[in-house]
């Protein structure tokens, strides 16, 4: 059974600003955010959009019994996936306590690596 954590969009935004403001974050499967932002974007930018939207979210941890939750993400560790630098959250909006369709918030390692290469060249 996957571990879940319910929180407000503002709380997730606060976590992004405090823990990963400079990381590049993508969103997959949430059209409203994807059409509003130029993604991937920094944690700070994604946090601002989440805070602007408000509402409640449910984060769901790994379902695979062999999958290990992420180790060092504070109170979000049990509901985050990813190896090494990668962080992935399975997210759903909660409307009147009812869970909507799942989507993903994930660090974009591809964009981060390409940006590093461009800055080094």
């Amino acid at each position: 059974m996957a571990e879940t954590l319910d929180l407000t969009a503002e709380e997730l935004a606060k976590w992004l600003v405090e823990r990963a403001p400079e990381r590049l974050w993508g969103v997959d499967g949430e059209d409203q955010i994807e059409m509003t932002l130029s993604l991937p974007c920094t944690g700070t930018e994604l946090a601002a959009e989440l805070a602007r939207r408000g509402g409640r979210l449910r984060l769901s941890g790994p379902t695979d019994e062999h999958a290990e939750p992420h180790r060092d993400l504070g109170h979000l560790s049990p509901v985050a996936y990813g190896k090494d630098d990668e962080i992935i959250f399975r997210v759903a909006w909660l409307n009147d306590g009812k869970e909507g369709r799942e989507w993903l918030i994930e660090t974009d390692l591809l964009a981060e690596e390409a940006t590093r290469l461009a800055q080094a060249s």
Binding site: G26, M35, L37, S38, L39, P40, D108, L110, A111, A114
Partner: protein, 284 residues
């Protein structure tokens, strides 16, 4: 292996029946662009993440092809953004000004007829053409967004000889992308000797012909970043200029429309703050 015996005539003719509804953001060009550009980038990222551990030679071959497809998709998403932005301009100006500005857009009777019921004149006029050449794009926006009964004064992107224009780099980079798109779309990624000659002029540096594009993840990412920036810049520029033209029209005939209503419509469609005849529209 011989092809299976299937009724290809029927099967192929059925393909245009496989349709979904247009997303709501298709009415707002910049949002439509963001969603699809990100979708293309996500496709590459999805493949990259989920094929870790695959046989390297096969993975590299597939990802090379995918990168070209994603660049093609990104450029064509930008082309569609330009068409949709131009269509909004047409819809806002047609009926409010009687000069010949719409003559810059080619249109067939069939295209107009197809749009007749929806009353989307802008789409009828802008969808038929390709918008893949900066000179043509400049000419169309220049005429569309000219002051009433005046020659074009609005320049969407600078001309190549406007060396001091701070936006010349946008023009130069976009012209290279149009040419790369051509090679991917029409020559399966082969840079012909003719393509190489054009690219050499555009980038002012050597390009070998009779070679095939081998894009890196970085190349795709830089295209995405550049087009994100260009689309946002263009969206704001077009919105502001359209608002100026409408203000000029309103100054000539103040009974034609209510500025606050038009400003609000523009702000919602372009997702930009605009001013029309002193009234401010703010995106909600």
């Amino acid at each position: 292996m011989a092809a299976p015996k299937l009724d290809f005539s029927k099967l192929i003719s059925q393909i245009p029946e496989h349709l979904g509804d247009m997303p709501v953001e298709s009415a707002r060009p910049i949002e439509h662009f963001h969603l699809d550009a990100h979708g293309y980038w996500n496709l590459l990222r999805y493949f990259d993440r989920r094929t870790v551990g695959a046989i390297p030679a096969a993975r590299e071959r597939h990802v090379l092809r995918l990168r070209s497809m994603v660049v093609l998709g990104l450029v064509e998403t930008f082309e569609r953004f330009l068409k949709e932005a131009a269509a909004l301009c047409v819809d806002q100006l047609a009926g409010r000004v009687l000069d010949d500005r719409l003559s810059v857009l080619s249109v067939s009777a069939g295209a107009v007829a197809a749009h007749f019921e929806e009353k989307t004149l802008g789409k009828a006029l802008c969808e038929a053409d390709t918008w893949l050449n900066t000179r043509d794009i400049n000419s169309r926006f220049g005429k569309l967004l000219a002051d009433p009964f005046h020659k074009p004064s609005f320049k969407f992107l600078p001309d190549p000889d406007q060396k001091k224009d701070p936006d010349l780099w946008r023009r130069s980079a976009l012209d290279i992308l149009w040419q790369l798109r051509h090679s991917i779309a029409h020559n399966a990624g082969v840079i012909t000797r003719s393509d190489a000659a054009k690219l050499r002029l555009l980038r002012r540096g050597a390009v070998n012909g009779h070679k095939i594009l081998q894009l890196t993840n970085g190349d795709v990412w830089y295209v995405k970043l550049f087009l994100d920036d260009l689309a946002s810049w263009a969206n704001a520029k077009i919105a502001v200029r359209l608002a100026q033209v409408l203000s000029t029209i309103h100054a000539d005939d103040s009974g034609l429309f209510a500025p606050s209503e038009v400003a609000d419509v523009l702000a919602q469609l372009f997702r930009e703050q605009v001013e029309v005849a002193g009234a401010t529209g703010i995106p909600r």
